[in-house]
Subunit: 141 residues, 2 copies
């Protein structure tokens, strides 16, 4: 019943949250994105997550198209973020920025490869003008 | 055990997710932000959520400082987003954008009060230069 009512909300934000909205999912994706981890053993060592949970999460990510599973003969399988998975990054950065500001500063910051601090900004799609949250409304597509 | 291991990750993104990472929480916040809803009956009618769940979520939002509970004599209580709650908007927009692109287009879009389509963009904090997800790394603060 929850599922049906919830589904009827037909909300893109909710559907995205299904994929990252579980504790371990977010941490696994974070380690893949920013730690460059690809192997089961790397995630397991970094997170201390139970192996059955980690197995399930990685399988789900492959099934959802967030990761590709690649395996060379005699090697451990590698789980490599797809473009779809990599593009969850803005969500993770936005979550981090909010937590840093409103809960307490966390241990990392984001920067460009050239060393510039980066952040998520609300901008006009075509004008590039900057907006604050009080300036934004939601309208039917 | 999960809680302790998880807590040790000390991750701002995870802490923010604690607050929005539950299905109904996100939908309630969305209706407060973009529907201007403040009353229990408005959320209940919009979402069809069980009253005990809605009561608990609104109480939690007040306890977390995401909403203020205001009540005039003889009136229904109103739950009004605080600044801390309002600033969850970029996360909700980023979730929506990802879902629109990678799952399927949802029913709403975001625009400025002046009618310009808006989006979340990854930018240099001081330079304002635009970056893609492949350009970003995480470093210790």
């Amino acid at each position: 019943m929850l599922g049906r009512l919830y589904e009827s909300q037909n909300c893109s934000a909710s559907r995205a949250l299904e994929l990252v909205g579980e504790r371990w999912s977010l941490l696994i994706l974070r380690d893949a994105m920013f730690g460059g981890f690809t192997r089961f053993s790397q995630f397991q060592k970094s997170l201390g997550v139970a192996t059955n949970i980690l197995t399930k999460r990685l399988e789900d990510f492959v099934a959802e198209g967030l990761m590709d599973r690649q395996q060379e003969p005699g090697e451990q399988a590698e789980y490599v973020l797809t473009r779809k998975g990599q593009e969850l990054m803005p969500i993770i950065i936005a979550l981090t920025e909010w937590g840093d500001k409103w809960v307490r500063p966390g241990p990392i910051r984001y920067q460009s490869r050239s060393g510039q601090p980066v952040e998520m900004q609300l901008r006009g799609k075509t004008s590039g003008s900057r907006f604050g949250v009080a300036d934004v409304v939601a309208v039917p597509r």
